[in-house]
Structure formats: C-alpha cells, structure tokens
C-alpha cells in the first residue's frame, strides 16, 4: 500500500459507503436483457468521435516518441484537457511567480508521491527510475503561473521529474514527466543547457515544458512562443524552467514538432543573445 494511501479504517468506511448495488436483482436482469435487444435493434449510426483508450495510448506514445527523439526521457506523459478547452489555461501567466499558498507549497510532495505511486502501480518503469531516486531528489525549481504550479525535481546524475498541477483542480489538467536527461551537463558560465522538454497532451490540447541548467552569468531567459508571445522562464539556483499552453512551435497536429524554440538569454552584465533551446543543446 502506498504511503500516501488512506488508512485502513477510512478505506473500510469508504467501502461500506459504496452506493452501488453488489448484484443485479431479477428485475434488473430482465431490464438488462431487454436493453441488450433494444440496442442491437438500433441501426448503426455515426456518433460524435470520442477517443478510445488505445487511441489515447497511441497519442501518448507519439508524445513520448517526440520527446524521446530529443532526450532519453521515456516516461513523459501528458493529459488532455477534459472538457474545458482553452479556458483551462485562463489564469496562466507568461511571467512566473513564487508558489506561496499551502496548496502550492504541497505540490512538491504531491509530485513525489504520485511519481512513486506510478512506479509501484504500473509495473517496472521503463525509465529505470527508482523510488529512492524520486524520494531523494530535491526540488530544483518551482514556479506559479496563475492557478498552475510547476515543480521540477532533479539530481546531479541527470534525473529530473516535472509536475504541473492546477491548484483549484476543477477537472482541469495535470501533467507529469520523469526520466534521465542527456548526462549531467555542467553549463559554461554563459550557457543554457536544456535537459528535458517538449510538448505533451492530446486532442490538440498541449502544453510545452522546458527544464534545464544555466551558467552563473545567465540572469534571465525569455522563450518566444508561437501562441503566447514571450514567456519568462524561472531562472534560479542554476536551473531553468518554463511551460506554456500549446506546442513548442509549429502546430499541435504536426508530428514533427519543432523542439527548439527561439529564446533570448540575458546575462548579468546586461547583454543579450538569441538562442534556440533544444533538448541536449546548449545555447
């Protein structure tokens, strides 16, 4: 049982309060049989398309593939916006803030617990990430954009994990990823090294994430996105993090997503330089 699981008494109480009937009574069975015949008598007709699980899996794999092309991260996953459309990101801001509320501050623990749970529940993890790796990894970046909290866990052996959650959680979207990036790049004084990133999601609803390391002379990084203009990255403690709704570049339906968005790096001496922030590349 997971360490974040409910205690046994609460689980038993929950089970006792399940309102669903255990067995169908004879009347329900008769009605079920009648329903079956009525359904089979209905002419097949086109219905509004709704993705079946295997199709979603396909998109998830496609997403993983798109990211894997640029990094060794394997366990990257995305989540679609359930029914909310772009309003899901109504509070998102191009400039980040520090997390302050209890919900936001708890996001790191939630992220760790969820990633550990995923390892346990879903069999051997293809990323090779262990529970202890996740539990030991400190928070290397955290930022707030409206109701959305981004947490990045990382260690000096190239592991990083990213969780994006919506504080209000009204059926919106969460995203998570974890895996090993390309080695443990130590950036030069004026370098930006992106360790993981890409676009994830489905049904044309995507978010893009960039996580990486920066040299001590890098003061700020602004990413130029196709749909949201200039997105100010969080730059602190030698780490870089940013995310925005939509794809990194081009269009959501394009399978060959451009994973090297243009960005402007500002240095501590006030000078600037235009770079492309591709995973595994140094700008």
């Amino acid at each position: 049982m997971s360490r974040s699981d409910l205690d046994a008494t609460t689980r038993a109480a929950l089970t006792a309060l399940d309102p669903a009937p255990r067995e169908l009574d004879p009347a329900q069975q008769r009605r079920a049989a009648a329903t079956l015949e009525r359904v089979l008598a209905a002419p097949p007709a086109p219905v509004p398309p709704r993705p079946a699980p295997r199709r979603r899996t396909g998109r998830r794999l496609a997403l993983t593939g798109a990211l894997a092309a640029a990094t060794t991260v394997v366990g990257v996953v995305g989540a679609q916006v359930l029914t909310g459309g772009d309003s899901a990101y109504a509070t998102w801001t191009a400039t980040p803030h520090r997390p302050t509320t209890p919900e936001q501050l708890a996001a790191a623990d939630d992220c760790r617990d969820s990633l550990v749970d995923t390892l346990r529940g879903d069999g051997p993890d293809p990323t090779g990430v262990s529970r202890s790796t996740i539990e030991r990894a400190p928070v290397v970046a955290a930022e707030q954009r409206g109701d959305w909290t981004l947490v990045v866990l990382g260690d000096d052996r190239g592991f990083d994990a990213t969780c994006i959650t919506e504080d209000r959680f009204l059926g919106g979207t969460e995203f998570g990823s974890m895996g090993y990036g390309p080695g443990s790049p130590i950036p030069g004084p004026r370098e930006v090294a992106v360790t993981s990133g890409g676009s994830g999601g489905s049904s044309g609803r995507m978010v893009s994430v960039l996580v990486g390391l920066v040299g001590p002379q890098v003061a700020a990084v602004t990413v130029h996105t196709p749909d949201h203009g200039d997105v100010v990255a969080t730059v602190a403690g030698g780490h870089l993090a940013a995310w925005w709704p939509g794809p990194v570049g081009v269009t959501p339906d394009d399978p060959t997503l451009d994973t090297t968005p243009p960005a402007t790096v500002t240095y501590t001496d006030g000078s600037t330089r235009e770079v492309r922030l591709g995973v595994g590349e140094r700008g």
């Binding site: 974040s4 329900q28 359904v39 089979l40 939630d110 749970d117 879903d122 998570g176 974890m178 489905s202």
Partner: protein, 191 residues
C-alpha cells in the same frame, strides 16, 4: 472488403453480446455511484448504445474494454450536464448512511465513527476529488485504467489521487474534531 455502412460486420454482434454480459453489471455500478438510482439504467442503456455504434473499436483487452465502457458512460453523464458547467467533473454520491447502516452489535465503533465522519466530509470535497477517490476505491481500476476513464495519463491520475486523499484527510480531521465533541465515547476507548 468494404462493410456496408448500415450493417455491422459479422461477428460484431457476438462480440458485443459478450461485452454486454461482462460489463453491464459493472457499468451499472459505475453509473449508480454518480446518478440517482432511478436514472442509472437509462444512462447505462445510452452508454451501450454508443458502444454498439462503435463496436468496431471495442478493445480486445478486457481491462481496457471495461475502462473504455466506463469512459463512455462518463461521457454520457457529462453530456447530460453540459451547459451547466463545461469543466465539471462528475460528483459521486455515498450510500444512504441513515437508511442502511445502523450500528449493530459487534461493529467496530471506530469504523462506525469514521463512516459518519466520511458522510459529513464527502460533500466538502470537490467533485474532482470525489471522482478520483471513487475510481480508485470503488470502481476497482488500475491507475492506467482510471486514467483512461478520465482521458488523462497515469501520472496525472496519481497526482489527482494524492491530492484528493489529502483533501479527504483534511476534511475528516475537521468534521472529526467537531463531532468528537458530541459523539459518545465508546466504552473502553481512551479519552
């Protein structure tokens, strides 16, 4: 070979009948947790009508298929409520505690107390929290299956579940503190 558009390919009916027999009781339970019992069978019938129309998409794996059926049922329920609030998650109801679970001899007093607290705490949860807790503890789904019902990733589902558990604990603490002032202390319990 092209299949006539108004006639399912041979074998589809057989597959659908098998799926119906396997999933109907579970889909009914899934729906019964989310709507009033008098409405549940109508929703399930509508769900299987959708599944029949998409019989070609029936997943071969039983676990995938069940989760898929749940996902369709959820879509039917959300469609019923569309217009009320676009991003609404599905509220989940509890059994009628007053009508069915009078404490009887030998029942663990802690369990009785926790059940009462749960009845008080549950409505304080967001519908999103209720939904992930129900998927995890009642609908008997694995993380990937529950995630597919919601159309999200397993990691995203785990994130939501972690947060929902914490919210439930918080509300249980609040209602527990309040009810402890009025609840008789079971004999032999530490005060």
């Amino acid at each position: 070979m092209e299949t006539p558009s108004d006639q399912p390919p041979p074998g589809d009916e057989e597959r659908f009948r098998a799926a119906f027999a396997a999933w109907y009781p579970e889909v009914l339970r899934f729906v019964s947790r989310r709507v009033h019992p008098t409405h549940a069978e109508d929703v399930v019938a509508e769900t299987f009508l959708v599944l029949w129309r998409r019989v070609a998409d029936l997943p071969a794996d039983p676990g995938d298929g069940r989760a898929w059926a749940f996902g369709v049922a959820r879509g039917v329920l959300l469609n019923d409520r569309r217009g009320v609030r676009r991003r609404e998650a599905l509220a989940v109801r509890l059994a009628d505690e007053a009508g069915r679970s009078r404490p009887f001899g030998g029942e663990d007093p802690d369990l009785v107390a926790r059940r009462l607290d749960l009845v008080a705490a549950w409505p304080r949860l967001t519908t999103g929290d209720q939904e992930v807790l129900a998927l995890a503890y009642w609908d008997d789904l694995t993380s990937p299956e529950a995630a597919s019902v919601l159309g999200i990733s397993p990691v995203a589902f785990r994130l939501r579940l972690t947060r929902a558990r914490r919210a439930l604990r918080r509300h249980l603490d609040l209602v527990g503190t309040r009810s402890a002032r009025t609840r008789p202390v079971p004999e032999g319990s530490p005060s």
